[in-house]
């Protein structure tokens, strides 16, 4: 076992123990019942205890190994942030922006997680995916999502309209156009 594997297993076991403890804590107010008539808490609590034991075993086995040399690989923060961020962005904005614009955003953002990303290919990829998906899911499969959402609408009272109104406000204070 190398030093990296050792550290990985120590951390892995600790996480497993934490998850087990979490389930045990949240599940502690569930009714255990008896072994005859098991309550909703019986099986989950047994499993949580097993989980903690497994975590202990994993960490324990790793700690028994001698410490070696070696570094760790850096986490790919850019990929993690861009890809998971793209999914979260989709969740927050799909109803407001509508499917087409949100997909443009998702594809453009996630494409930059690759080291081969380039502006031109990403833009055309985003346009292609957005066009294909809106056609497939809205036209063919009838997904109840708007093509473009209320955030982009120019009707009175919508966020974009009021934003634009406030930007255009100075124009109204100017001299009235002569007739």
């Amino acid at each position: 076992m190398t030093s990296m594997q050792r550290r990985r297993d120590v951390i892995g076991g600790l996480i497993v123990m934490t998850i087990g403890t979490g389930f045990l804590t949240v599940g502690s107010d569930l009714d255990m019942g008896s072994s005859f008539r098991m309550g909703p808490g019986y099986f989950p609590n047994v499993l949580s205890v097993v989980m903690i034991a497994l975590g202990l075993a994993i960490t324990g086995l790793a700690l028994r190994c001698p410490k070696g040399e070696g570094g760790s690989t850096p986490l790919p923060w850019r990929g993690l942030l861009l890809i998971l961020g793209a999914a979260v962005f989709f969740g927050f904005a799909v109803r407001g922006l509508g499917l087409a614009p949100v997909l443009l955003g998702v594809v453009l953002a996630s494409a930059w997680a690759s080291r081969y990303a380039a502006v031109r290919t990403s833009v055309s990829l985003a346009a292609g995916v957005a066009a294909f998906c809106t056609f497939l899911f809205i036209q063919m499969l009838g997904l109840p999502l708007p093509l473009t959402g209320p955030w982009l609408s120019l009707e009175q009272g919508s966020p974009l309209a009021s934003a634009m109104a406030s930007v255009e406000l100075p124009a109204f204070s100017g001299p009235a156009p002569s007739q």
Binding site: R8, D9, G12, I15, V16, F23, V26, L30, D31, S35, F36, R37, M38, P40, G41, Y42, F43, P44, L47, S48, M51, L54, G55, A57, I58, L75, P76, G79, L80, I83, L84, A86, A87, F90, G91, F92, V94, R95, L99, L103, V106, V107, L108, S110, A111, A113, S114, R115, Y116, A117, T121, L125, A126, V129, A130, C133, F137, L141, L143, P144
Partner: protein
């Protein structure tokens, strides 16, 4: 004779234009998935699950099954032509297949893979038709204690036959079981681990979980070692096999098919294990063993027949017992549940059209695959070189829409993102995520049968060892577990997976 009548019903179902179309879509997508970089059948089936909701159950399952065994064909094309296995099950095919391609024999290698797979698929389909109904009949007699023990056996076997650390595989199962229990308790209606969120009352969304762990998690992993592919063989010619070649592959195909059929039935087995085992067996038995590793046609024929046979027979426990033997089967069970079908031995009698239609469609699908793969090989070669950086953003877009569309809820999209993080963490910490999905699907069933068995025995836990069938199943689990833990088998097992 009843079998012929049943198969007749099956073919009538599978050959209806509508189902034939979905069978075709399934196998074509499967081949594409096998050929395209970084996209596997698990992620694809998870992505397509939401789309199948609107389809009749038979058509949707025919299509999803086609993706799984179609991927076996596509995976071998990648293995032979660019020495990169498209699927884990074609890892060994790459050894001799690529050597053959280097010697200008890509055509015969591809033909061997396709024809061997077709033969294996035919045999496995017949086996499935013969073996499944009696097995389901036996399973109908099972009480809760037997069912509980059977599921324990399934889970233990899937751990024993999987690669990597046993301890970690068990951890993944327990975590899957726990995640499967989230939601309302079936018997009392108590909310468990839902944090009073109404979105969690029906449990964690199966689609969001599998797309997160196997879709997003996989992408994050792939991006760490991104590279471009180049195809050496641009044009493949000579797809016909010579008489000498045919003579050499008959034995390996037959042996690969029988070994694959048996290993496919075992939980945790399926296509990957079958191809590994068939290759190492052939390496020992073949009169041309000196050629192995240098382009022996047997080294393509045996594992390719075995992985297709295994892919197909792994449907047996899923269809007859409602127990998944690998993550793809877990997804199929999820698809059934979503379609309102209760998986288990009742499927054979209650849904004959679905059951026999699926079996017949596998043979039809295999035939389509041969037609699709050999004459159209040029198309797949072009697809081979689609760079991953043009592919994964589209996959992410599909996953987002898919997760949303199950319940039209953005909550599930956030769930998917969370499980994407979990999936990536699991990979980084060297936990194989496949058993998690098995546990997740089996969790509620396992608990229900445990509670029922204990209720029937008035709280006497010995019921599991006093019922002969249940005892037998538990003994087999115990035997498997000790076998894997024995030192010399253990080292053999590690050797087999590191090859």
């Amino acid at each position: 004779m009843e079998l012929l009548g049943d198969l007749g019903l099956g073919f009538a179902t599978a050959l209806s234009p509508f189902n034939l179309l979905y069978c075709f879509i399934g196998v074509a997508l499967g081949t594409a998935v096998g050929v395209l970089p970084g996209l596997g059948p698990i992620a694809t089936i998870a992505m397509l699950l939401p789309i199948t909701f609107g389809l009749p159950p038979v058509s949707s399952l025919i299509m999803l099954a086609g993706i799984y065994y179609g991927a076996q064909y596509g995976g071998s094309t990648t293995a032979i032509l660019i020495n990169l296995p498209g699927e884990s099950s074609s890892v060994v095919t790459a050894i001799d297949g690529y050597q053959m391609a280097k010697k200008g024999r890509a055509g015969p290698a591809l033909a061997t893979a396709a024809l061997g797979s077709f033969f294996a698929g035919t045999v496995a389909t017949v086996l499935l038709a013969i073996a499944a109904p009696p097995l389901a009949e036996v399973a109908l007699e099972f009480g809760p204690a037997e069912y509980f023990s059977l599921m324990v056996l399934g889970l233990v076997a899937s751990v024993a036959l999987a690669s990597g650390s046993l301890l970690k595989a068990f951890t993944m199962i327990v975590m899957g079981l726990l995640l499967g229990l989230v939601g309302s308790d079936v018997e009392t209606g108590t909310q468990r681990f839902t944090f009073d969120m109404p979105e969690m009352a029906d449990g964690l969304n199966f689609v969001a979980l599998s797309m997160g762990v196997f879709g997003l998690g996989e992408i994050l992993r792939n991006l760490e070692h991104e590279h471009t592919r180049s195809v050496m063989v641009k044009h493949v010619s000579g797809l016909m096999l010579s008489k000498a070649d045919l003579k050499r592959i008959i034995g390996p195909v037959l042996r690969g098919t029988s070994l694959g059929s048996v290993l496919g039935i075992l939980p945790g087995g399926g296509a990957m294990l079958a191809s590994f085992a068939a290759y190492s067996m052939e390496k020992r038995l073949s009169p041309n063993r000196a050629e192995f590793g240098k382009g022996a046609i047997e080294g393509v024929a045996a594992p390719e027949s075995a992985n297709n046979a295994g892919a197909q027979t792994s449907f047996i426990p899923m269809l007859t017992l409602g127990i998944p033997s690998n993550p793809v089967m877990a997804l199929m069970i999820g698809a059934m549940i979503i379609q309102g079908i209760t998986p288990g031995p009742n499927v054979v009698t209650d849904e004959p059209e679905l059951f026999w239609g699926m079996i017949a469609s596998m043979w039809v699908g295999n035939l389509l695959l041969v037609l699709l793969n050999l004459p159209l090989i040029g198309l797949w070669i072009r697809m081979l070189t689609i760079p991953y950086h043009l592919l994964f953003p589209a996959i992410i877009a599909f996953c987002c829409i898919g997760a949303f569309s199950v319940n039209n809820s953005t909550f599930d999209v956030f769930m998917m993102a969370l499980f994407g993080l979990v999936g990536y963490a699991l990979i980084k910490l060297d936990f194989e995520p496949a058993p998690l999905l098995l546990g997740f699907v089996l969790g509620p069933m396992l608990e229900e049968n445990l509670r029922r068995a204990m209720l029937l025995s008035r709280g006497d836990a010995t019921v599991f060892v006093t019922q002969p069938l249940s005892l037998g199943l538990l003994l087999v689990s115990l035997g498997l577990l000790t076998a894997v833990l024995l030192p010399n088998i253990r080292s053999k097992r590690e050797e087999a997976f590191s090859e």
